[in-house]
Amino acid sequence: MTSRQIDVGQAMPAAQRIATIERLVRYAGASGDFYPMHYDLDAAVRQGHSDLSVHGLLKAAWMYQYVAEWSAGWAHIEELDIRYRAMDYRDRTIAIGGRVEAVAGDVIDLSIWTANDEGTTTTTGAARLRTHTPTIEEIR
């Protein structure tokens, strides 16, 4: 795929993720984020949540992957901006989608989002890609 095939308004292929209790535990262990609302149901309920909530930074990682997989081999991500609008909970299907918002030269701007299994948008975001992939020498 090349940038010449990218059109404004183009939808990105939909994806899905589910945060099982195992994934929440693995993520807490890897990241060190043991805030109780992610693993202690009583604590989550005391905070007004209906279940264990998915770490925001886990969703951010999913959205990074989502964009990176779509642009693999022809662009790299320069910026990713994620806003959490509502909680996502364990064992619920999270849909991920995106759309091309602008193309200017070698820069592509995307809007991205997640929605829960009730259709509520839970995350909104934006990503900026650049179609030139720098060499290691340029980076280092």
Binding site: R26, Y27, A30, Y35, G56, L80
Partner: protein, 139 residues
């Protein structure tokens, strides 16, 4: 619940102690597995890693002094990343976090503190690799 807006806004400019984290192969593999990235069984020194692994080098929730004076609970309002270079297994990452803004908003469930933390990640010899801006909420 106590809510000391003056104390909250007085923390703007707070800077965390500088920390150094190694991007270890095993950790990079475990992080990739944790976020569900397939084909991540082998990570070797020099391999590019998922840059969002820097989330592991943030202190979450933030260790902001005096935070009990404004709100009881943390929520994550947003995360923004500006990528400047490739992070590799074996890199040693230096970082420090600064509280750059603290605003009070009134939501349906009461006061909400909106705190903006900016963290610069650098690899010595390579310069800035990534800037993370975290919006964290106190409710």
């Amino acid at each position: 619940m106590t809510w000391n807006t003056v104390a909250m806004q007085g923390q703007v400019g707070w800077r965390s102690p500088r920390r150094v984290d190694a991007v270890e192969c095993r950790h990079a593999r475990d992080y990739a597995r944790a976020v569900g990235l397939s084909g991540s069984d082998r990570v070797q020194i020099g391999d590019a890693v998922l840059p969002t692994i820097v989330a592991c080098f943030l202190t979450e929730p933030p260790a902001l002094p005096g935070v009990d004076e404004f709100g009881e609970h943390w929520l994550n309002g947003g995360d923004a990343f500006r990528f400047r270079g490739v992070l590799r297994a074996g890199d040693r990452v230096q970082s420090a976090t600064t509280l750059t803004a603290a605003d009070l908003k009134h939501g349906r469930s009461g006061p909400l503190g909106v705190l903006t933390f900016v963290t610069e990640f650098e690899v010595p010899g390579s310069g800035a690799i990534l800037t993370h801006t975290g919006t964290r909420l106190r409710r």
